[in-house]
């Protein structure tokens, strides 16, 4: 287990929780420490409990844990909400002068740091900086060099002028000094070492946006929705530097249709939304697929159905992405497994979309999208990005794909199922695209023979992709173990950490994390080699478990979590042990 440290700030939405947490996380990252953040937030702008948690270690951290070492509590509820995670020796920083905090009782055994946050902030130049005072106090409590915080404050407030930066630095110093002077004997048993490593800190939504730009995406249309909005926020203001454009559409229907238009014009195009938005986009999804338009559609899943729990984790949209839309439609469904993979799978999504002229769903989830993680910058090696635009024809090659009378054949029946593609403006390439069944030229037809040929042609792309692409799962743990754990999406990091707990208990497992939902690898051999197979996912019914059972004709065990919270490593390890031990089977030791 890495010697990790857990910090959180909690209060009401509107208290600046998010930005304060981010400043601290960034300071840790700049000090060469690994960081994994998580957010506990409600669907409201002001009021209601919200928290930002930071887990940090000098080693890689991949998930959240049930422990808090230092808690900045801006409201009494912050303490109540986190009581289970606090332990003997936990430090609680709060402002006893604040009316609501004046009679708060710090539980026995914990370190009580009552700091006049607001008053000190006013001394530094404004009450608004009280959270920064708390950060200074936290630095003192953890022996963390406050200069790293300075650098993070400069990054955060640099645009607002040097004076603001200096005031904030001062606020942090006042918090630090107050703890030094007033709690000289407090037992602050924490030490946040720094390293010389350089890390970048980003979340899944940002990684998806960055991947899109890297892949040459030029056109993005979207409608704000939690937790996908950050993709649009990231792209806006950045994609323009690379010749691209972001449109905030009037609704999700418009968003996907705008993106479809961009894609038909030949631009690499994308839209991102969450489950309710996918519902609205589904009709056009059928047109995208039938007209064989390359398009990347990101679904950052949250708890459903309907409005569900907009700020909570779930992986409940898998069936919709796999089967949504009337009729039968070939598509790709990719599920990134880490923030880093959000970047790479986005790049891959664009290549698959254009190589196979199909829509590609990118199935991200809230836990990954809003979670910031540190990476070595080389994890996003731009030199390793490749662009493959597939079968695009130009004025010189278009003749090979025309009828005798000169009509272009955008839906030419080919052996691999992939037809030529002509961008508008290409001489001799003018053609019709339609959601109606069509002939090779894209003209409506109800001819029975042509109908079958076109359906088969579109479906053949899936077979071609299986031959040409590598859809292997990512593998962790003991390759020879008899117990096989299968998962997808953001659970990978938690499972990898759970391995250490399982190892402590001498439980050997092999983990397959599946980033390709469709087309996907055939796991029959792996399943047959295993004594027990357990599928871990954040939904109630086991949507991925159903799929692999169908593929392999083998029953699997299931671990499902659908309370809105992502898995935690220790809890998951315990549940795996219990599941493997069920039915009286011996757990391999």
């Amino acid at each position: 287990m890495p010697a990790d440290f857990n910090w959180a700030i909690g209060g009401e939405a509107g208290d600046g929780i998010d930005s304060t947490g981010k400043i601290f996380a960034q300071a840790l990252s700049r000090a060469g420490r690994h960081v994994f953040t998580s957010k506990d937030f409600a669907s409201r702008i002001r009021g209601g409990y919200t928290a930002y948690k930071v887990r940090t270690s000098t080693e890689k951290v991949r998930s959240v844990v049930d422990r808090l070492d230092v808690l900045v509590a801006l409201t009494p509820r912050t303490i109540e909400e986190n009581m289970d995670e606090l332990h003997e020796g936990s430090v609680i920083i709060y402002d006893g002068d604040r009316t609501t905090m004046s009679d708060v009782e710090i539980p026995d055994g914990m370190v009580d740091l009552d700091v006049p946050l607001k008053a000190l902030a006013e001394d530094a130049g404004g009450a608004i900086m009280r959270n920064v005072v708390a950060l200074g106090a936290a630095c003192e409590a953890t022996s963390f060099d406050i200069e790293h915080l300075d650098s993070s404050l400069k990054k955060r407030f640099g645009d607002k002028g040097q004076a603001i930066v200096e005031n904030n630095k001062q606020a942090a110093r006042l918090g630090q000094e107050y703890v030094q002077e007033n709690y000289p004997d407090a037992d602050l048993d924490y030490d946040l070492d720094t390293t010389d490593n350089d890390y970048v800190l980003l979340n899944g939504d940002e990684a998806i946006g960055m991947g899109a730009i890297a892949a040459g995406c030029k056109f993005y249309a979207g409608y704000p929705i939690t937790p996908a909005t950050d993709v649009m926020t990231y792209l806006k203001g950045r994609i323009e530097h690379f010749g691209g454009h972001v449109v905030q559409a009037e609704d999700e229907l418009a968003a996907i249709n705008l993106a479809l238009g961009g894609a038909r014009a030949g631009a690499r195009s994308m839209t991102a939304t969450s489950g309710p938005g996918i519902d609205l986009m589904t009709e056009t999804f059928g047109l995208v697929a039938t007209s064989e338009t390359p398009l990347v559609i990101v679904d950052v899943m949250r708890s459903g159905p309907s409005t569900g729990m907009p700020t909570k984790q779930e992986q409940g949209d898998l069936n919709m992405m796999l089967y949504g839309g009337h009729g039968e439609i070939p598509r790709f469904v990719l599920a990134p497994t880490t923030v880093e993979e959000c970047f790479w799978k986005t790049v891959e999504a664009f290549n698959l979309a254009e190589k196979y002229q199909t829509p590609v769903y990118l199935a991200a989830d809230l836990a990954m999208a809003v979670t910031e993680q540190t990476f070595e910058p080389e994890a996003f090696d731009m030199d390793a990005v490749e662009i493959d635009r597939g079968k695009v024809v130009d004025e010189d090659t278009i003749e090979d794909h025309q009828t005798e009378s000169g009509g272009f054949k955008p839906h030419e029946i080919t052996e691999d199922g992939i037809s030529p593609r002509a961008f508008p403006g290409t001489a001799g390439g003018a053609h019709m695209s339609t959601g109606l069944e069509h002939d090779e030229q894209g003209r409506r037809t109800e001819d029975t023979e042509m109908r079958v040929k076109q359906v088969d042609k579109r479906n053949r792309k899936v077979e071609t992709a299986k031959e040409r692409e590598d859809f292997s799962p990512r593998e962790f743990g003991d390759a020879d173990a008899d117990n096989l754990i299968v998962t997808w999406g953001s659970n990978e990091g938690t499972l990898v950490e759970a391995l250490e707990y399982l190892d402590d208990d001498d439980v050997d497992v092999r983990i397959l994390s599946c980033p390709y939902i469709f087309p996907r690898a055939d796991l029959t051999e792996e399943f047959e080699a295993a004594d027990q197979v357990v599928v871990v996912e954040c939904n109630a019914t086991g949507q991925f478990a159903d799929v692999v059972e169908h593929d392999t004709l083998q029953r699997v065990k299931r671990i499902n979590k659908y309370d809105g919270v992502q898995f935690k490593a220790d809890e998951l390890a315990a549940e795996i042990k219990e599941t493997l031990a069920a039915d009286g089977q011996e757990v391999e030791a």
Partner: protein
Amino acid sequence: MSSQVRFTDFKSDKQPTWCPGCGDFGTMNGMMKALAETGNDPDNTFVVAGIGCSGKIGTYMHSYAIHGVHGRALPVGAGVKMANPDLEVMVAGGDGDGYSIGAGHFVHAVRRNVDMSYVVMDNRIYGLTKGQASPTSREDFETSTTPEGPQQPPVNPLALALASGATFIAQSFSSDALRHQEIVQKAIEHDGFGFVNVFSPCVTFNDVDTYDYFRDSLVDLAETDYDPTDREAAKEKVLDADKEYMGVLYQDEDSVPYEETHGLDSNMSEIDHDGAPEGAMDLVREFY
């Protein structure tokens, strides 16, 4: 653009399946002539069609085209134009497509003011589903689904456009071939969203809004001293309950299209790098 382009170059080899006498024949001919006359050719033209009888137009014309889903043609057209401003984009649809299922998109397309033209074939009925009330059907127009008439006022597309900030509003009549072509041409030439509501009679299901009705009742603004740049005058005209007009009802001559306000001037289909674009590593460094 090549001066040899003829309007017939915009014709596909598919024979229309519209009913004999349908107004859409004239509407489409005028669109093709207007496109040719404004110097476009099929390879630089993108036509987006909606659903219904009007939506078939993309099949009967020859150009780059897409037949969208019901009511959503406008955002598709906007996406095409934003991604490649060099293309001439024309969106065509019907009254159901544009003012019922697509009414929200209509309002926002008008606001957005992308430089494209939007031609609505308004026959005041749903033809392809065999005769139900449409959003522009008269209040007392009896149909299979409204035996006593819709009993609600029709949508006023011209007023809706004006209220939404339209920079070009026109109305034409498919059977007046020359005027229709001229009006669509003006919409194409307009710098921004050129909206044309075309009376395109349904000879099979609508026995009220007939060729004769429009021929007798339409007031041609070209024959009056009407000034289409006068927004106040346009307000009066679009809200006039007693008369219907043909011609350009409003044009903002200072209209600046979306592409210009948003600095869109490149063809986004081009990607001039095999890997990540130059400077992409800066995107990573930002996260230090």
